[in-house]
Symmetry: C2
Subunit: 269 residues, 2 copies
């Protein structure tokens, strides 16, 4: 249980103060924060709440969008936004800033991938300075066009390995990579580079590319197997339960957190 | 133009006689047939129509479902069905039987993958006998759970290589594999094993896992690049335009075929 982290998007109805209090009351020691929720409460106030409740921040979500286009197709200055996010992560005491690197710009897949690699090169020194690791999270190939031209652990690792281990790591999110026939091999190769492990399941049938997730145990993903892989690769850090699911998001936070704990204990731990 | 093949699912409103006549009138020399449409007309009658119109059959869709479960979760005898499909393909003069290998049975991904490899082992001798190549088509990872535990070209190739080249090949469908960071390398490795090349595009945003396809040119896929890859790997066979798209499927067949030809000439040829 001391490795369980609540990624706060899972308890969507909860504000930061509610999520922090909820974790503390339930004996959950870690929390993964989201910038929009943190902004509602304020960075300093969030940092204080975290400290007062004796919690630790597993990650801050998210920086990225280095191809300068949002999933909705509008402009965003990904590099500038990510620098701000790195500052916030440092203030919050987050070990990792999770990166959603961005989708395809100008219909140019290889150029967009290069933009991502270049952005990481520009940010790695700042990450070292701030003491926050950049966490490259490969997203599911169905999100390649809009959200992430990084689709596999191998691919994220190839970028991370250009930089110091403390500066750039790889975040393994089960939903995004479970299908990969090379996943065992890729995770083994990522030894020393794993900056986070996110668990959740996939709805079957998969009716939605973004919201088609479920609590561990409600789908085909073998959580104990993947956990064993990341542990064999040396990762002993927090395990975030991060679920995008419209029905779950409508339930009260306390009820969701209780379900998260049960699901984690039954299918992951 | 002499390589363009109409995969008949693209002109969903058309029967086999209509699709065959449509191709002949438009100068399209190849057609990819679907078993359900062929069954409406009859296998022998379809074979006669094809011959009378001077067409060639690029592939028959489809066999597979070797994990014995349909996308809807009911039982199917995949091996028996595929044997029947091989017979039909031989009667139709199809070079290739396209295989959708099936999704996960019993929440066991690795066991399901083994079932697929075993089924190919059982079918390869029959394929040689019938003179029809089994075409292993990796499907997009978002269809892993329900439809295909084969998600990458590498993975399909590893199974194919256990068998004679004439018995088992790999079908490259752009929609399913365009996002793969290893795709260039994988296609190069597949030299001599490519049993088909299907082109289409992906809708952005991708709102549907099955129907989110578009005519070449209406999405982020670089068709000329992928065509160059398969050609460099020695594939000079027919190029099927295969589009699942609800709006397209409601338009009259002749109008769709005209759009297919324009799209092919503009973005693929």
């Amino acid at each position: 249980m001391n490795r369980l982290s609540l990624n706060q998007i899972t308890t969507k109805t909860w504000s930061v103060p509610e999520a922090v209090a909820g974790c503390a009351e339930s004996g959950v020691e870690w929390i993964g924060l989201w910038r929009d929720k943190v902004a509602e409460t304020g960075v300093q106030e969030t940092a204080k709440l975290i400290k007062d409740h004796g919690l630790k921040v597993s990650s801050l979500c998210r920086g990225g969008f280095f191809t300068n286009v949002t999933p909705e197709g509008s402009f965003v200055d990904g590099l500038a936004e990510t620098k701000t996010a790195l500052d916030e992560a440092a203030q919050l005491g987050a070990d990792v800033l999770v990166l959603v690197v961005g989708g395809i710009a100008d219909n140019d897949l290889s150029g967009s991938r290069q933009q991502v690699a270049d952005a990481i090169g520009a940010l790695a020194p700042l990450a070292l300075e701030r003491g926050v690791r950049l966490g490259l999270e490969p997203l599911h190939p169905m999100q390649c066009a809009e959200r992430s031209v990084l689709s596999t652990v191998d691919q994220a690792l190839a970028i991370a390995e250009e930089h110091p281990t403390e500066a750039v790591g790889v975040v393994i999110d089960e939903f995004h990579v479970w299908w990969d026939p090379r996943i065992e091999e890729s995770i083994a190769k990522a030894s020393g580079r794993i900056a986070g492990f996110h668990v959740c399941d996939q709805l079957v049938p998969l009716t939605d590319t973004l919201m088609g997730r479920a609590l561990p145990g409600d789908g085909p993903i073998n959580h104990r197997h993947l956990r064993a892989c990341v542990e064999a690769a040396g990762y002993t850090g927090p395990i975030e339960v991060e679920v995008f699911n419209t029905a779950l998001w409508q339930r009260p936070g306390a009820e969701v957190l209780a379900a998260v704990i049960t699901s984690y204990q039954t299918h992951v731990q």
